[in-house]
């Protein structure tokens, strides 16, 4: 197939994925996420477990080592069918603690220790980099297979260039859809939907190739089985150690791979999806593995000697002339590689950004001059850079390793690396005694052994470790040889590293935990994680107490009637913070139940019954239930009557409450209306009186001018009042259109002081400020904020009764808030009216007649509420003092 057509097909495919991601994202934003949250989509998104290593590599693995490849899929199968143990708990914890990555999980569990977050991040990045390189390699190789023997079209560019383009394209896609928003729970609907589509493509592709091989090339099932036994694969030898070890390590990896944690826990929208995935994901894995052996067997028999079994999925259809099938297979492999890389990049970038870049930045910033902190922008930027960096690392690794065969084994090496997180994770969710010292010791021990015994030697002799060191140990110390630690020889290197790293990791974790003491935060988190399902009682006592509660319910139903008993139990369970029908049989609950039952059967009987069930006396439960059955019939009739009268009483109560509320509202409204009436009529009275005077009489010119002036002033007062009223009404209904902009607080204060100087301009008025504290950007409606400041400053000019009036303005930054205090040196506001000044028309003794209708502070209060801040009177400052608080950044 010509290379240019291949490129066109790939690009079209990527464009479709873009479209899918875009539409899904749109729908999710529009709240129409309905089908995005299907359990099917969740299950399919898990399929990123099957990377190109599965798609191409499983066949190669089977050709080399027989059925051993199955362990990679059987391990996860066991984890998923056992979902009730670990997955359910992880997902619940992830939800309750808003976990963003596996590093976050570990860090959060161990007292939010960022050090652990960094360790896990480093392990994850180191383990994933070669894996990403492997994906780039597979895409590059598959391009090569297609375009190798076609003279027409473009020439195949060199493999490095292909890998570079693929890496760049994936980085772009991931940044576009992976860092669009900074949601608290880090869900990416677009990406999940796109990888679900890719999951379908790769499954269909592999199944199609399989069906073609079994029925197209071979002669059906029986023939294939015969061929299997006749092929070289039949000579494989099951190595018990590897079989068990690989099953274990793949089971561990599915829990600890950052990308799996991302789709399994972080992207999980609904716990019930885990229940579906418990069978559907194993089914997916089974289908992906189903035709691996047949393809390997057929490939080995029909393909020429020495051809790469890792590419049989492509080369078999090509050799049989099935070009379209081969293209489908190519897309399947492409999907496997891209979806893995995308999710891995997101997961890793979240970890790098949250645990390394952001803390570092915050730490550096403390020392430097104060800078406005747009952390959100910083985090997004660091995510984007991290994604690019992760892909660049993968590409660099690919480039340096030269696409060598050494990459083929990197999948398992990577699995063993991430499995080092397992002891800290499992200990963290099942053992309250696990401490961060233990976790750190375990993680570092395991990580070091993995590095030394497996990762570094994987670069081959004289790669990163010298051949001599590998053969003879460092400084010739025999028992430190990377492949024969402590003199254990004869194990294969992978198993050797797995055994020692997991043993010593777990050992260090346990010893560290037992010998250290957890901090308070850590203990809190420990309880929250371990007892996630039941905060009040430990898992051990749960079954017993639930059984008791069930017996109590069964008895109560006979006495109270099924419906009422269930309602009572449910209400009690809710009050205890539990869901479902069965509350914990705490002494408190039992006492309430007893009271409830006593209402039906009398206190003594009720006490006896409860004692029977919770204490265990000689009367049998059967006897009690029989007694209860008789009592029930008598109860039933009277209960019906009671229910009716209670219904009536309830309705009456509801009506009474509604009425009281209405009356109260009406009183408030009357008060307000009569206030408005007064405030409107007062200026109108002057206007009317003086206009009549002007109309009737011949006045001297100076009086005419004076009265006209009064009319003019009063008209303006009236207008101002109406403006204020409208303003207030809009603000109170929160319908105000905020005009968010950014400005320096210092400049706003400057403007306010200038504008307020119109008020009693004749007055000597000193404003004391500390300009250095005022320089900070505020994102808010600056005009509205200015209005508040003008009002407060004008009030000070108006009412400050000191001889030499001084207004002090103090600005402080408190968390994400600015706090601006306005303190004058007047006599302040009497204590009894301090609470009233923010009410409408609360003008105090307005002897100075400064205009305004007493709405100013009420408007200020509403404005600040609209801006997400507050204004309050600050008592005890010597004069009148107002404190304005406002968020530095108004969240829209």
């Amino acid at each position: 197939m010509p290379f240019n057509i291949l490129v066109a097909v790939s690009l079209t495919y990527v464009a479709v994925l873009f479209g899918v991601a875009f539409v899904a994202e749109r729908r999710a934003i529009g709240g129409r996420a309905g089908w995005l949250r299907l359990p099917l989509v969740y299950t399919l998104s898990l399929s990123i477990y099957c990377t190109a290593w599965t798609f191409y590599g499983a066949v190669g693995y089977a050709a080399r080592s027989g059925l051993e490849f199955l362990t990679i899929y059987l391990g996860p199968t066991l984890v998923f069918v056992g979902w009730w143990w670990v997955l359910r708990k992880l997902v619940r914890i992830g939800r309750a603690q808003r976990v963003t990555s596996i590093a976050d999980l570990i860090s959060s569990r161990y007292g939010k220790s960022n050090f652990l977050g960094v360790v896990v991040t480093v392990i994850a990045v180191l383990a994933a980099t070669p894996y990403i390189a492997l994906q780039l390699q597979s895409v590059t190789l598959s391009f090569g297979v297609f375009a190798s023997d076609t003279p027409e079209g473009w020439a195949v560019p060199d493999q490095g260039a292909t890998a570079l383009w693929v890496a760049a394209g994936l980085a772009l896609f991931t940044i576009l859809f992976g860092t669009r928003n900074l949601d608290a729970n880090e869900r990416h609907h677009g990406i999940v939907m796109a990888i679900a589509v890719e999951a379908v493509v790769k499954l269909i592709a592999l199944l199609a190739v399989g069906l073609f091989v079994v029925w197209g090339v071979a002669g059906g099932v029986a023939d294939i089985l015969a061929r299997i036994d006749a092929s070289p694969i039949a000579d494989w030898e099951l190595k018990p150690g590897r079989w068990a070890g690989l099953t274990f390590v793949s089971a561990a990896a599915i829990l600890t791979l950052p990308r799996m944690f991302q789709v399994m826990v972080v992207e999980n929208a609904d716990e019930r999806h885990v229940a579906t995935a418990s069978w559907a994901f194993p089914l997916y894995l089974m289908l992906m593995s189903l035709f691996v052996v047949p393809i390997a067997v057929v490939g080995l028999s029909i393909m020429p000697e020495g051809s790469n079994p890792d590419l049989f999925v492509l080369t078999i259809p090509l050799s049989q002339g099935a070009g379209k099938l081969a293209l489908l297979a190519f897309l399947g492999g492409f999907s496997s590689a891209t979806s893995m890389v995308i999710v891995a990049a997101i997961a890793l970038s979240t970890m790098v950004s949250n645990h390394i870049v952001t803390p570092l930045w915050l730490a550096l910033r403390v020392g430097s001059a104060r800078a406005p902190g747009d952390v959100r922008g910083l985090v997004l930027m660091s995510r984007r850079l991290s994604i690019a960096a992760v892909l660049a690392l993968g590409y660099t690794y690919y480039h340096l390793s030269g696409g060598s065969a050494a990459l083929a084994s990197i999948g398992l090496i990577s699995f063993v690396g991430v499995a080092q997180v397992l002891p800290a994770m499992m200990g963290g969710i099942y053992w309250r005694g696990a401490t961060h010292v233990g976790a750190a010791m375990g993680l570092i021990t395991g990580f070091a052994i993995w590095l030394y015994c497996l990762f570094l030697p994987s670069f081959g002799p004289n790669g990163l470790l010298s051949a001599r060191l590998i053969a003879e140990g460092p400084f010739g110390i025999d028992w430190l040889r990377p492949h024969a630690l402590f003199g254990i020889t004869g194990l294969d290197p992978l198993l050797h590293a797995l055994l020692w790293s997991m043993l010593l990791n777990t050992g260090a974790f346990l010893i560290g935990s037992l010998s250290s003491f957890p901090g308070p935060m850590e203990r809190l988190q420990g309880v929250a994680f371990v007892n996630i399902f039941d905060q009040s009682s430990g898992p051990g006592s749960w079954t017993r107490s639930a059984a008791e509660a069930e017996d109590l319910l069964s008895m109560s139903q006979r006495i109270l009637g099924a419906e009422e008993a269930q309602r009572f139990f449910q209400a009690q369970a809710t009050a205890q913070g539990k869901a479902g029908l069965l509350p914990d049989p705490t002494p408190d609950f039992i006492a309430r139940l007893e009271r409830q039952l006593a209402g039906s059967v009398g206190a003594a009987t009720s006490h006896a019954m409860i004692a029977q069930l919770s204490g265990g006396t000689t009367v049998s439960v059967q006897d009690l239930i029989a007694v209860a059955g008789e009592a029930q019939q008598i109860k039933e009739y009277s209960a019906q009557l009671e229910a009716k009268s209670e219904e009536l009483a309830r309705t009456a109560r509801a009506l009474r409450e509604a009425n009281e509320k209405l009356t109260e509202l009406s009183v408030q409204k009357d008060g307000f209306l009569s206030q408005i009436s007064h405030e409107l009529r007062t200026p109108m009275t002057s206007i009317r009186a003086f206009s009549e005077i002007l109309m009737e009489s011949d006045l001297p010119e100076d009086m005419r001018a004076k009265y006209a002036g009064i009319i003019h002033d009063e008209t303006r007062r009236l207008t101002r009042l109406l403006d204020d009223l409208l303003d207030l009404s809009v603000l109170e209904n929160r319908k105000v259109q905020l005009n968010i902009g950014v400005a320096n607080l210092h400049d706003i204060l400057n403007k306010a002081i200038v504008a307020a100087s119109n008020t009693r301009p004749e007055r000597m008025f000193v404003v004391q400020r500390d300009a250095s504290t005022e320089h900070m950007p505020v994102f808010t409606d600056t005009d509205r904020l200015l209005q508040v400041f003008i009002n407060v400053i004008s009030n000070a000019r108006k009412y400050c009764d000191a001889e030499r009036a001084v207004l002090r303005i103090e600005v402080k930054k408190r968390g994400g808030q600015a706090q601006i205090d306005f303190i004058d040196n007047g006599s302040g506001i009497p204590k009894k009216v301090q609470a009233l000044i923010f009410e409408k028309f609360a003008r105090l003794t307005d002897t100075s007649h400064a205009g305004g209708a007493g709405l100013g502070l009420a408007i200020c209060r509403e404005i600040m509420a609209n801006l997400g801040g507050s204004i309050e009177y600050l008592p005890g400052q010597g004069g009148a003092a107002f404190r304005v608080r406002l968020p530095l950044k108004l969240s829209a």
């Binding site: 199968t77 066991l78 979902w83 009730w84 099953t247 019930r272 089974m286 069964s554």
Partner: protein, 99 residues
Amino acid sequence: MPQTQPLFLARRSYRRRRMMDAVRLLPFFGTVLLLLPLLWRPAETPEPDTARGVIYLFTTWVVLIIAALVLSRGLAPGLLDAEEPVSPGPETEPHNGAG
């Protein structure tokens, strides 16, 4: 039929509890089945039996999938009411259930 309902409820929750036991046991059952091949000696038997191995492993796999399917069907609906709300639900009156 006020007498039958409580019995039915008790039975249903009893079944649910046993299903929880089953789903907890399933991975151990699966582990045993999947580790059984360790006892085989494929290289030592005279006839090739890799095909039988394939059939055994895939059959076990399917059995595990079906078991998980049945159990998750039984447990999933309960998952919503029994354990869904991480925070307590809307307030109901703590006692006086009829009120």
